[in-house]
C-alpha cells in the first residue's frame, strides 16, 4: 500500500486547505479514501454523531501535481484511512506560503500520513517542516461501511439562498431554540422556522429555484404527483445546520438541499472540482 501526492500550485494548495478545513468543522474524525483519480472524505452515519453523515469527493488531478497510489491489492486499488481531521488541517495551516507540499503514507511508530512542507527560508536551502499524522488503516472487510450514501427519494429539491445570509439568520435563531424547521416547496420557496413556547420566528426565502433532476429516481414520480406549492419539512438540530453553514470555507458554485418530509435533509455543495454532501436526520 503506497501513497504519495505533491501539491505545488498555491491556488490548489489553498483550495485543498479550505476543503480540509471545512471537513474539520464538520467531522472530528473522518475516513480518508484514496482511489486512482479521486480523494474522498467520509463521515458515516453514527448515532453518536447525531446520525449525521458526510461525503466529500474531489478530483485529485485538480489539486495534485503528482499523485501516485497503490492500493491494498490490484483488484481493490484503494486505500482507506481513518484520521483526526483537525490534525490534517493544522498541518496544512502551516503550509500557507509553502513552495511545495507532499502528502504521503509512511510507516513510523504507527502508520502515518506525513505532510512535508517545503518553506522558503533566508538561507540557500529551504526549510522543511514535517507533520506525522497518525492514521488507522481500515481493513478491507470494513470498507462496506463507507459506501456512498444513496440520495434519498426526496420530496423537494431546492437551491439554497446565499449561504452567508442563511448563516446569519440561523446564527440568531440558535439562541432561541435547539431545533429548526426547514421547509421548502417546488416553487422555489423555503422557510426557516423556530417554534418554542415563547416565540415563533420564521424567515421566508422565495424565487430560489429548483434544480431539475434527471428522472432516474423513482422519487421523481412522487414529486410530480406533489402539488408544487406543498411544503416538505423537517425539524433538525440547529447546531448541525450551523456547523455546515459556518464551517464551510469553500464558497460553492451551487448549493442545494433535498428534503425528505420529516425524515432527512440532504445538503449538496457543488464546485467544479469537488462536491460535498451532508445529511442531517430529522428529529422525531
Amino acid at each position: 500500500m503506497r501513497f504519495r501526492g505533491k501539491l505545488v500550485d498555491v491556488a490548489c494548495l489553498n483550495h485543498f486547505t479550505r476543503v480540509v478545513n471545512t471537513i474539520t468543522k464538520l467531522a472530528k474524525t473522518c475516513t480518508l479514501r484514496f482511489t486512482v483519480d479521486k480523494i474522498y472524505f467520509i463521515l458515516n452515519d453514527k448515532v453518536a454523531n447525531g446520525g449525521v453523515s458526510m461525503w466529500c469527493e474531489l478530483n485529485q488531478e485538480n489539486f495534485f501535481d503528482e499523485f501516485q497510489m497503490e492500493g491494498v491489492a490490484a483488484e481493490d486499488n484503494e486505500i482507506y484511512l481513518e484520521l483526526t481531521s483537525e490534525n490534517f488541517s493544522r498541518a496544512l495551516k502551516t503550509a500557507q506560503n509553502a513552495k511545495a507540499v507532499k502528502v504521503k503514507l509512511t510507516n513510523k511508530q504507527c502508520p502515518c500520513l506525513t505532510v512535508a512542507v517545503e518553506l522558503p527560508s533566508l538561507s540557500s536551502s529551504s526549510r522543511i517542516v514535517t507533520h506525522d499524522i497518525p492514521v488507522g488503516i481500515i481493513p478491507r472487510k470494513l470498507w462496506n461501511d463507507f459506501r456512498e450514501p444513496s440520495v434519498p427519494d426526496f420530496d423537494v429539491s431546492i437551491y439554497l439562498p446565499v449561504m452567508k445570509t442563511m448563516k446569519s439568520v440561523v446564527d440568531r435563531m440558535k439562541n432561541l431554540s435547539n431545533s429548526i424547521v426547514i421547509e421548502a416547496n417546488q416553487k422555489g420557496e423555503m422557510n426557516l422556522k423556530i417554534e418554542t413556547d415563547l416565540v415563533s420566528v420564521a424567515t421566508h426565502f422565495k424565487d430560489l429555484g429548483n434544480p431539475p433532476w434527471v428522472p432516474e429516481h423513482a422519487s421523481q414520480n412522487s414529486t410530480e404527483k406533489r402539488h408544487p406549492e406543498t411544503m416538505a419539512e423537517a425539524r433538525i438540530d440547529i447546531k448541525r445546520l450551523l456547523q455546515l453553514l459556518a464551517g464551510q470555507q469553500v464558497n460553492p458554485a451551487k448549493a442545494l438541499c433535498n428534503i425528505l418530509n420529516k425524515r432527512i435533509v440532504h445538503f449538496i455543495l457543488l464546485h467544479e472540482d469537488f462536491s460535498l454532501q451532508y445529511f442531517i436526520p430529522a428529529l422525531t
Binding site: 500500500m1 503506497r2 502551516t94 513510523k108 511508530q109 512535508a116 526549510r127 517542516v129 478491507r140
Partner: protein, 385 residues
Amino acid sequence: MKCIVTGGNVKALGKAIHSLARVGDEIYVEPLQEGLSMRTVSASRSAYASFLFAPLFFQNYQPTESGYDPDSEAFRCKVHMKSFLAVFRSLPSLEKTVEKCLLSLNPHASRFRVQLHCKYGVVKTHDLPFQECESLQADFDTSQCAHALRAPPRLLADAVVHFPLALAEVTLVASPAGKVSLRSYLEGDTEVTRTMVTELGLNEDEFQTFHIKQEAQITFCLKEFRGLLSFAESSNLSLNIYFDTPGRPAIFTLDDAVLQVHLVLATLEEPESCSSQMTSCTPKPLAPAYDFTGDDIDDYMIAMETTCGGPAGTEPLPSPTFPMGPTSSEAQEPDSDHEGTVPGTPPQKRVRIKGLPQTNYRHEVKNVALPICCFVVLLGTCKMI
C-alpha cells in the same frame, strides 16, 4: 524608587510584563543602581525570567528615595502578577493612548504605584499591594554551557508557529554538521496513535552564531519560550540560546544597550534508555530533509496488509490498527518514586532542586526536570495595604 517611562518604551515594558506573566505568578521588583530589575520564577521552580532595564531605558530613574541612606540595601518587593498584568493588559491601547508611565515604590506608603498618563490628560493610577521580600536570583552561568546558538527572533518565531498551541514541550536537536531541528515532544503517556508529531529543520546558515561541539538534544517548555520570543520579536533583539546536556538548564538571553533579559528553563532529564526510547519514536530525527527530496516510491511505502482473514493476511506484522510497539507497556508503567531510575521508565515527573533538601514539587509541575539553580527566596513580613 521612582521612574518614568515614556514613548515606545511603555510598550516594551508592557511586553516584558506579558512575557514574565508566562513564567510565574509573582513579579519581584528590585530597584538597583544598574537598573530596575523585574524577575519571576514559576511555581515549580522550573523556569526563571529576569528583565533588567538600565537607567537609560527611563526618562528619569531614581533607585532610592532622596535623603535615603545610599549604603542601605534597596527596597525590594514582590507584586501579584495578575494585578501587575491588569495594568498593561491591552498592548494596542497602551501604545495608542499612554504617553508616560510612572512607577513609584514608597516603602513608607506601603504601595507600589503605577500611573499611566494618557492622552487628553487622563491619568490612571493603580496602587498595587506588595510583599516585602528577599532578592530572587537564579544561579546560572552561560559560560559553562557547552553549546550556543544565536538567531534573529523572526527565525525562531517562524519555527515555533508550526507547533500546535496545546503542545507543552519541544525537543531541540543540534548537530555539529550544521543542522538544528525542533520536534514535538510527546509525553510518556500520550497516545502515539492520536497525536501528530511535527518536526522542523533549520540550517546553520540561518543562525548568527552556531557553536555546537557534539550532537546535543534538549527538551524544554514552549509556553515560556513563546513568551520570550514575542518580546524579542517586538523589540527585534537576537536571541542567544545556551545549553548543555539534557537535565541541565537552558539559558535564553537578549541583550540590548538598555535591556538585559534572561530566561532559564529546566530541560527534561532523560535516562539513557529514555532517550533511546524517544529516538525510537521518530527513528530518524533529521530524516525529513532527505525524505522530502528523495522521491523514491520505496521511501514512503507502507508495508501493511489490511485484509483480515484473507490468505494475504498472514504477515507477521502487528495489527495496523493497534500499532503500539513494546514501548507502550513501558509508557503506561506507573511513575516510579524511586530516586534511581530504572531503565525504560518514563522520565521522572518529579522535580528536584539541587541545594535544597528533597523538595517535592510533584503535584505542581508536569514533566520537568530541574535546572541546577539555587533559589534564595525568603519571604519577609507580609505588608499589605
